[in-house]
Symmetry: C2
């Protein structure tokens, strides 16, 4: 099928750029060195391509993502890199499930939910989840006392991954990982899980990198000079043309907006409404013309869509369900 047959707005994944991203990453971080994060794409079909590239362990952000990956037969080694207080849906899955814990309550929830293994989540500088490094050993002991296997530690240097200055990224990653390794000395276990697309080649302390954005790539990461290419766009149709501007059928419900407006090559985006982009085209356009809109943030864009289409030029090669949405 040709993209002209698609109902718009429609998520497109450029097959060549996507394959390039997978290849570049698996060359840098082969096999278990990468634990791809599925939150960026929420799509088991895409994850199966990452598995085919040699990565059998995955990172998830929600219980639904873990469930979906298990159901899709991608449950060799699933890490829920997030705290949960109700782990009951995880305990029965036909998969190896490891959950992040950072408090007595989340250790208790894992044990109560029938989860068998945990990582101690350590705060390495980002004010979000994670225990204090000096508390990690105590939580590991608590987890073991409740029958949980403790596989090691995780700590996300999310305050570092987007910094444009590479030397600063290196310095702060090193400082973050020193905290994580100190915690690991108290915790034990084999795994030191950390990192993201912005530190994939900097974070040499972690045993595995939790990168997700690299596969479809984000505009924000695009400024870091990484070898990954923006593969995702939203196909939209011009539905109205007026002197000086035109309107596309793609709006707030098709675009993650927390990083601001999307961009359109050769055109200026004026504003975005629920189902519209008003923009000034660089050259005259007609009703029915189609544009590829680049969202400012991939993850919350994908989460609005039911499916994404893998395309080569204007040809739709495959259509993938975005099947890990919701909670």
């Amino acid at each position: 099928m040709d993209v002209t047959g698609l109902t718009t707005p429609a998520l497109l994944v450029d097959a060549d750029l996507f394959e390039h991203n997978l290849r570049a990453m698996s060359e840098a971080l082969p096999g278990a060195r990468l634990r791809p994060h599925v939150k960026a794409h929420k799509c088991t079909a895409l994850a199966s391509r990452q598995a085919a590239a040699g990565h059998f362990g995955f990172t998830c952000a929600t219980v639904r993502e873990v469930e979906g990956m298990a159901k899709a037969g991608l449950g060799d080694d699933l890490l829920l890199a997030n705290e949960v207080l109700d782990a009951r849906r995880l305990g029965d899955l036909d998969a190896r499930v490891t959950v992040a814990v950072d408090s007595e309550q989340t250790v208790e929830a894992a044990a109560q939910g029938g989860v068998k293994e945990v990582l101690i989540d350590v705060n390495v500088g980002l004010p979000r989840c994670g225990c204090a490094p000096e508390d990690a050993g105590r939580l590991a002991d608590l987890a073991r006392s409740k029958g949980l296997g403790v596989r090691g530690v995780m700590g996300y240097e999310g305050h570092v991954v987007g910094l444009p200055d590479r030397a600063l990224r290196e310095q702060l990653t090193k400082e973050s990982m020193e905290k994580l390794l100190a915690a690991r000395a108290d915790v034990g276990g084999d795994i030191v899980s950390a990192g993201g697309t912005g530190t994939y080649d900097i974070n040499t302390w972690a045993t595995e990198i939790q990168a997700g954005s690299y596969a479809l790539m984000d505009v924000a990461y695009g400024h870091l000079g990484l070898p990954f290419r923006q593969a995702l766009s939203v196909l939209a149709t011009v539905i109205s043309v007026s002197p000086g501007y035109a309107v596309l059928d793609c709006g707030l419900k098709a675009l993650g907006m927390d990083h601001g407006n999307p961009t359109i090559e050769g055109a200026e985006v004026w504003f975005v409404s629920d189902e519209h982009i008003t923009f000034a085209p660089g050259t005259p356009v007609r009703v029915g013309d189609r544009f590829r809109v680049t969202p400012a943030h991939v993850d919350p864009t994908v989460a609005y869509h039911e499916r994404m289409h893998l395309v080569q030029g204007d040809r739709v090669i495959e259509t993938w369900e975005v099947d890990l949405r919701g909670w």
Copy 2:
């Protein structure tokens, strides 16, 4: 069921505030004076409450919304207040479907798709869809020549609805509607469809008002002194607590972010990540505590969720599917 049984993040609709909003609006604009816009809630169960309040005609923004409303038996009089270039899915529906047109191409698409009736969409000041007022008569003639019934005109004063100064809202609404009535003189038909929640009691020129936000209400509209109350929130759970801040399991994929960060009563939101809000609570909190988060923009928030729960205090009265998502 109690809200404590809900998986978070979860959309909550306060039943009393919602009923208040419906009552306040149907008293001001009874029956066909209001054509509720379903884009704000994307939920046929909620729309059926609006129908029970006496409003049998509805406004939609997408083909999917029209399809879903027809399938739910709410198809007495559905207006797709948006331009489409492929109307084929509309022609066969068991419903009265009227489509907005603003160009030769959209007139042609309506005729080709088997749609029977149209409104001429007129630009009344918002740079988005709509033909020039002086072109409306020509498009109406074109539509009739293709066998389409022309029911009148529509024109959305979207540049006016959010202005905080009521006198300015009144003045600009008047100017917008003068343009629309001039177009209507050329077009004919009974319907002058316009307006929104911000001009529901100002726009006395339109025969029907397309308000949608009033039912669940938006923070932005909350500054206008309207008689509608914010009925929508996102229930979230504290999953991690650190000195000075805590983390909720509700993030960018559960919140429309184009109007900025959500708010939490008595607390300060620091930042929002894919699945987290980091916030400074006003009083000490514990892991497992729950908060109601007020999103900055209702419409793109609802579009992320599979369902919403009608609650009275902490009791879940009904659960409604958000069944009009997608395109």
